[in-house]
Amino acid sequence: MGGRDGHGGREALGEFEHHVLLVALRLGDGAFTALIVEELEARTGRSVAAAAVYIALRRLEKKGLVTSELRMDDSAGTNRERRFVGVTPAGVQVLAAARDDFQRLWEGMEPALDSSGERG
């Protein structure tokens, strides 16, 4: 199985996991799979497979970047248990580091964007 973190440093984060983690952070305490799916679809304009989000969350949990907790969900009015997720401090750290990486990578790149033609 891949995905094992070889160098003892930061967890490697796939693009999709990155998105899911970021949205979970945005939604805060009340985040759960369906909400994250809808938020991802709304923000990216693409359709997102619910199963992929569910699994990404469980994988992130294994990596210690999110925690999950089974709680009664009163808002549904049906008194069903639902798995709520929250981003751990380690998760926030990984996100911050990823953002720094991106910022460094993007430094001075704006002209390259402008020359690549119009964007719809």
Binding site: M1, F32, T33, A34, L35, V37, E38, A49, A50, A51, A52, Y54, I55, R58, R59, L70, D73, A76, G77, T78, R80, E81, R82, R83, E118, G120
Partner: protein, 907 residues
């Protein structure tokens, strides 16, 4: 249904199935998320799409959650599954003949049903693109309680009255459709597109998003609403200006009138109808701008019909029936109070409401029936394929009984064996799905050119998209697994006791296989009879006397109306065109008509006795003609004359208004007279101050709406008298025996010679157009023939397989019989009788089933009875013949059983 507090849940069965696919410890937390997403999808896209979504997502969960190895032990499950699938593939690879037959039949059945599903999805299931929650909308129009499918336009006063009088709708907006020439930059690169004049709230009612800009500006005076403004579709904006941004703010000429592009709709939206082909929208002011002859009081005059279709966005809880009833009350009030209203002009008018937008309400039931019949045919083929796969699987399983039992005896679990059987059929199903996709690709290509119920370009965009492909895969896997279940039951799960009798097939297994072969023959019987009846119907329809001669005529559309051209100038232009066309030696006759003569809905007008009761009058299709159009059509005149020698150009002012009516209209108006006695009579047109018209001729009845028993009344008026559509339809009759299609370049050349700015569009032969009137019947007959031939082939393979296996099983018995002196003909007869027995066992219930099913076909038949003895006789003979042919090979094999060898092996 109670609303508000109650929260809808996904169908219980779907949920239960989904739960089964997910490990127990994850089940509840997955289901709660699925419910949540399903509800929001159902709200946005309607229940059907939500169902599909749920199915797909459930599958995704089952596969991914297990594959991801979230829970311990899942890795083993995956490894086992992979091993089983490989084993299945190996088993099939060892028997390529068996695998190929199964995969091919499966593919044919799946491909057929998938193609039909794609068509149904396109016309019936798919929501109108770009419209928010289209299933919640309600379509309203003015129809008739006596003429099914007919509709009339409502006046602006009617729209206002309905807005006030119909409660429970958030908004009510109206549309009227037309076609226009549009161009940027003063006429360069003009293109023809469908257009709609709409009330400014139209876009909001439909929930249309704008890619850029806004809707036309509303004004209290409809004549000023959206003046000089147009909205383009994203598609048209891109095609004309290269991009959405490039179109916004530009000046566009619509039929030569300058407008400004104030908005571009979001991608996908091309009108509220299906197929959406609208490229440009104008406000109500556009009606006045584009039609210089429009009366000043267009929006004030209560009788002036404008709006073809209304769409309402109801508040939650309001029903279609509720809206229909409320709208009808508004109409009745107008009748009682004698209000000026277009909706009160005919006694049998009524307000009609339909759920949703999209497919034209008049076509819905017809299209549904056709699609249902197509689906039934394809489902039969899949059923046949399923029976065939099961039969092959049982034969296969029976031949492996020994191997299976050995493995069980060695300790392989019953579950494991079952799983391997399933895996084998999953592999087969996957092969069938691939073959099915290939056949569906072909089938969809064929259906793409088809027009259902004159349903325009309905199927033009038909494609093998992921959803349709998903259906194909599900069908293939489902059928294959069902066959596996049958095979598992027949092989008895591989009991070790079966080892002893391993070499002789069981009696019950044989019966099952023979039964399946009989089922195939039975299904084929239904298909053969259905295809036969439809085939005869199509032959009858083609030979039908339409009242005019469709062969040898080319039809073209022209739009001579321009703002700077008055009615007299249009007539003069048409006169020049007619004489220029008739001057050519290749042309026998040419004329123009308006509106399009061959279509399902008409511009209707009223004729009645002078000073008589309005209820004694009749409604008929109104046709305006220029030049010797009736001659070009080939309509026989029964009495009187038409409008030759330029009579068609005279307006009502410089001569008495004239009309040519058809036979049925003459009989209805003057019941006891011959056509010749009707000529010269004067009748009223019922339009208030309009002068009465003189009947100058009586012509034959015309099948303008296609092969229906009731031919419409037709009133033909000279071009100069009355209201013409913008488009003039030219019919050009070629000299006897010449190909009309070859006239196309000549017509273009002549038109360009008369006026180079006049675009010629939609060139077609009238024969093609006439054939299109019974396109449904042709499609059904074509598909029926293909399906029944395939069915027969599959059934023949089935019978051949069963008998071949029997002969193989009974080699010893046959050998003994031959040794005891049975001659070749006796052995041959025995096997053939076996085949015939299977065929008869299937045919009896099959033909009975066909007899029961023909009532669904009855409305589609023409000139042939549902129980036509010829069709049934020939069908029976064909079935028996196929069964005998299929038995012949095994029978011959039986006669060649080497007696000595068989007996020695026994010894």
């Amino acid at each position: 249904m109670p609303r508000g507090g109650e929260r809808p849940n996904p169908p219980a069965l779907l949920r239960w199935l989904t739960g089964k696919g997910i490990p127990r410890e994850e089940r509840e937390s997955v289901l709660v998320e699925m419910d949540h997403l399903w509800r929001s999808r159902r709200h946005r896209q309607g229940p059907l799409r939500a169902w599909f979504w749920y199915l797909g997502t459930a599958l995704g969960f089952a596969v991914r959650v297990r594959g991801a190895g979230i829970l311990g032990g899942a890795g083993r499950w995956t490894r086992d599954a992979v091993a089983d699938l490989r084993y299945g593939a190996r088993v099939l690879a060892r028997r390529p003949g068996y695998a190929a037959a199964a995969v091919l039949t499966l593919g044919l059945g799946v491909g057929g049903l998938t193609s039909v599903y794609a068509a149904a999805d396109r016309v019936l299931l798919r929501p109108v693109p770009g419209v928010e929650a289209p299933h919640e909308l309600i379509t309203l129009r003015l129809g008739s309680s006596e003429m099914e499918g007919a509709w009339w336009t409502l006046s602006h006063a009617d729209l206002e009255a309905l807005r006030v009088g119909v409660a429970g709708v958030r908004s009510l907006d109206a549309r009227t459709a037309l076609e226009v020439n549009v161009s940027f930059d003063q006429g360069a690169g003009a293109r023809r597109t469908r257009a709609a004049v709409v009330t400014p709230g139209w876009f909001e009612t439909l929930g249309v998003r704008f890619a850029a800009g806004r809707a036309p500006v509303a004004s209290p005076d409809p004549a000023a609403s959206g003046a000089g403004e147009v909205v383009l579709s994203s598609e048209l904006a891109r095609a004309m200006a290269g991009s959405v941004a490039g179109a916004l703010g530009r000046t566009v000429e619509v039929d030569g009138v300058a407008h400004t592009v104030v908005g571009v709709t979001g991608p996908g939206f091309q009108g509220a109808e299906l197929p959406g082909e609208t490229g440009i929208w104008l406000g109500p002011a556009g009606l006045l701008a584009l039609d210089p002859s429009a009366p000043d009081g267009l929006f004030q005059e209560g009788y002036q019909g404008i709006w073809q279709l209304l769409v309402a966005r109801p508040v939650p809880g309001q029903t279609v029936a509720g809206v229909a009833a409320a709208a009808e009350r508004v109409r009745e009030r107008a009748v009682e109070q004698q209000l000026p209203s277009a909706a009160v002009m005919v006694a049998h008018f009524e307000m009609q409401a339909f759920p949703g937008v999209g497919l034209d309400p008049s076509l819905r039931s017809g299209v549904r029936r056709t699609v249902a019949l197509l689906a039934a045919g394809a489902a039969f083929l899949l059923l046949l394929a399923g029976a065939n796969v099961a039969n092959l699987a049982i034969t296969h399983a029976a031949s492996r009984r020994g191997a299976t039992s050995v493995r069980r005896a060695l300790g392989a679990g019953r579950g494991r064996l079952l799983r391997q059987l399933l895996a084998e059929h999953l592999v087969m199903g996957a092969g069938g799905a691939l073959a099915g996709l290939a056949f569906a690709w072909v089938g969809i290509g064929l259906l793409r050119d088809v027009r259902l119920q004159e349903y325009g370009a309905a199927l033009t965009g038909l494609a093998l998209d992921p959803r349709v492909a998903g259906v194909a895969v599900l069908l293939a896997l489902g059928t294959s697994l069902l066959a596996a279940a049958g095979a598992a039951a027949a092989s008895g799960g591989g009991n070790p006791e079966a080892l002893r009798g391993a070499r002789s097939g069981t009696r019950s297994g044989h019966r099952l296989r023979a039964g399946l072969a009989a089922l195939q023959i039975g299904l084929s019987a239904v298909l053969v009879v259905g295809a036969g009846l439809l085939g005869r119907t199509v032959a009858n329809l083609r030979g039908l006397d339409l009242g005019f001669r469709p062969d040898g005529v080319l039809a073209v559309d022209l739009d001579p109306s321009r703002v700077d051209r008055d009615a007299g100038e249009v007539s003069a232009l048409l006169a020049r065109l007619v004489s220029a066309l008739e001057a050519r030696p290749e042309v026998a006759a040419a004329g123009f008509a308006s509106p399009e003569p061959l279509r399902t809905s008409f511009l209707t007008s009223w004729l009645g006795p002078l000073g008589g009761d309005p209820d004694d009058g009749i409604l008929g299709a109104h046709l305006q003609v220029a030049g010797p159009f009736l001659e070009a059509m080939g309509v026989p005149l029964l009495a009187g004359r038409a409008f030759g020698e330029g009579r068609w150009m005279r307006s009502g002012d410089d001569g008495e208004p004239e009309v040519v009516v058809n036979r049925s209209a003459a009989r209805e108006l003057f019941p006891d007279r011959t056509p010749a006695q009707v000529v010269g009579e004067v009748v009223s047109t019922g339009r208030g101050d309009a002068p009465p018209v003189r009947i100058v001729g009586v012509m034959e009845d015309l099948a303008l709406t296609g092969p229906r028993p009731d031919r419409p009344h037709v009133f033909v008026r000279p071009w100069g008298q009355g209201y013409a559509d913008q488009v003039a339809v030219g019919w050009v009759r070629a000299r006897e025996g010449a190909d009309p299609a070859a006239l196309a370049p000549l017509v273009r050349e002549v038109v360009a010679g008369v006026d180079p700015t006049l675009p010629v569009f939609d060139v077609r032969t009238v024969r093609t157009q006439a054939d299109r009137m019974f396109a449904d019947e042709r499609v059904l007959a074509g598909l029926g023939t293909v399906v029944s031939l395939l069915g027969l082939l599959v059934a023949a393979v089935g019978i051949h397989g069963v008998l071949g296996y029997t002969v193989q099983e009974r080699r010893r018995e046959i050998g003994v019989r031959a040794a005891l002196g049975a001659d070749t003909s006796e052995l041959l007869g025995r096997v053939l009788a076996g085949g015939l027995g299977i065929a008869l066992a299937g045919m009896l219930p099959g033909l009975m089933g066909a007899w029961g099913l023909t009532r669904f076909l009855e409305s589609r038949l023409y000139g042939v009875a549902a129980l036509d003895p010829w069709t049934w006789g020939v069908g029976t003979v064909v079935l028996v013949g196929v069964a005998l042919l299929a038995s012949l090979l095994p029978a011959l094999r039986a006669t060649r059983v080497p007696v000595v060898e068989v007996l020695r092996a026994e010894g």
